[in-house]
């Protein structure tokens, strides 16, 4: 396996080569091109932020802003005063902590068990799991299952069905399998059983990978809205993203004949609530980026 630091940020050119390091016209063209692309990525965020801090009459008279003409925080005040948002935030935090811990636990122990050699039925279990990656029952049978389990309209439906993510489980499995097997042998000789070997020997060695998989789960939980849309009718159980979905996209898609929340029809308020949801991600992402990149690269190489 390639080392983490090599794939984190890739060197411009392999070091030590005899390359022309002179910056030519081509480099400037490239720079300009990518700079513009970067602006295209950033602009929607910047624009959303501008609109969220502009008073409504400023936005109505000059919708295309490059800098704030007048600043108001009233949109944010309205969002923060909105009970539904705080409630959604609370549900999302529960998913973020309880859900992530729950998913991590089951995904990691499964990955570990499948990474060990020789136990009866391992191939059968492995194949049983792999089949589910290529074939599934579909939405309606899944909903029928959740209804018959009585999970609908409960917080449990947002957590329990996510116990194991097959992709992340295989990522963990491949990682455990890549660690030296001698450790297991010597721990066995010392009289340790498989569970002790797992949490005393292999788990401490796998903390970076654990962080990666945990972060994938955390992002998934922060962004989750689909299960809530399918199974949650009670407003007090809606996670943040679903609250947002109802207020913003569904209101404008007019699919549902939903009563559009008048209070949230103003663009400034919509953007304040969107921005409120992006900010935590923006703050954490630059520091956590290397973990995500690692997960992607390790997964694809070993895949």
């Amino acid at each position: 396996m390639r080392k983490f630091k090599d794939i984190d940020y890739l060197p411009l050119r392999p070091k030590g080569g005899t390359f022309d390091s002179k910056v030519g016209t081509l480099d400037w063209v490239l720079f300009a091109l990518l700079f513009i692309y970067g602006l295209i990525i950033i602009y929607p965020f910047y624009n959303a932020f501008l609109i969220s801090i502009s008073p409504e009459e400023v936005y109505n008279s000059t919708p295309f802003l490059l800098y704030p003409k007048a600043v108001t925080w009233s949109n944010y005040a309205t969002v923060f005063a909105d009970q539904e948002f705080w409630n959604g935030f609370k549900i999302t935090l529960i998913l973020l902590f309880v859900g992530t811990a729950y998913q991590l636990f089951f995904t990691v122990i499964t990955g570990y068990a499948l990474s060990r050699n020789k136990w009866v039925g391992k191939n059968l279990v492995m194949n049983m799991i792999l089949v589910t990656m290529f074939f599934g029952g579909g939405l309606i049978p899944y909903m029928a299952l959740i209804y018959s389990l009585g999970l609908n309209n409960s917080l449990a439906v947002l957590i329990i069905p996510g116990a194991i993510d097959t992709y992340n489980m295989l990522l963990m499995r491949n990682y455990f399998a890549s660690l030296p097997p001698d450790l297991e042998e010597s721990a066995k000789i010392d009289g340790a059983n498989d569970i002790q070997i797992f949490y005393k020997v292999y788990l401490p060695m796998s903390l970076p990978m654990l962080a990666t998989v945990g972060l994938f789960f955390a992002v998934g939980n922060w962004n989750s809205w689909y299960n809530a849309m399918l199974f949650i009718n009670k407003p007090e159980l809606r996670p943040l993203q679903y609250v947002l979905q109802l207020k913003i996209t569904q209101a404008s898609s007019q699919v549902d004949n939903l009563v559009i929340d008048d209070k949230f029809s103003a663009e400034g308020l919509k953007m304040a609530s969107v921005f409120f949801t992006i900010v935590p991600m923006m703050c954490f992402y630059p520091f956590l980026q290397k973990f995500f990149v690692k997960g992607l690269v390790v997964g694809a190489i070993k895949g």
């Binding site: 970067g38 965020f45 959303a48 020789k118 589910t132 309606i140 809205w225 992006i278």
Partner: protein, 317 residues
Amino acid sequence: MNKKLIIDSLSPLNDIGNRTRKSKYLILMIIPAIIFYVIFCYFPMYGIIIAFKDYDLGGEILTSPWIGFDNFRSIFSFPKFWSALKNTVIIGVSKLLISFVAAILMALLINEIRLRVFKKTFQTVVTFPHFLSWVIVAGLVLNIFGPAGIIDSIAQAVNGGESIELTHDPDFFLPMIFSTDVWKEAGWSSIIYLATMAGISPELYEAADIDGATRFQKLWHITLPAIKPTAILLLILSIGGILSAGFDQIYNMYNSAVIDAGVADILDTYIYRSTIQQGGLFPGEGAAVGLFKSVVSFILVIMVDRIAKLSGERGII
């Protein structure tokens, strides 16, 4: 490993019961997974029989009456089903190809950046949108193209009150879907190619330099051939997902205008909207559409795997 197996099988102690006893803790660790997959993956597979039954959501699957292929007969007679299937194929295939090309192009461009600070910053910026939900991205996009969005507001100011609602324009819908998909995912997808490029031996470039190769020649004759196996593998891996053309994206971006124009609905949104949200399909019919999708996707995966193995690439199953 093979050697070990042979030794194990020669051992007189080696019977299944003994091996099970020896690995009882590992089996203990796998039991939750078995329960999980049986309940949440295999029960829904069993639930596929809904497609052959007259079933009502929340009812009893077993006792619902069998109706043979009636559900399939009725969905095949719905123009909306065919329209959704057509859109699914169009959107799925186009997104696959566009994002494939965009990711490689992005990786090649990033790889050519010589200013390291810019490279790092650029990568952080372009990979960030991958971590936002489509709810958020749709919110940002609607804010620009949607009713009362920037373009609409400018148009109203210029045209004297006449609005341009691009998100409601059937001709604009697909380009919007494709471009927002690139906006959100291209940076992230490029990482895998960049990792492959980092593994290319520097000696190849050095030799090319000595031979006087230009930058473009090096890209064409060294970098591209080096990422070709990765590219082919990723391409065939994604073919099985063509019929899942992106529920989250479409669902958050479409509206009644583009649905009625017949350009927006994909199989997944059709199943959800018509069975659950608005009505139009019986649950049995919704399950039939889902089964149709699952079976076709599965056949695609098998075919692609065969083709990949025949042409000497690594298979996926």
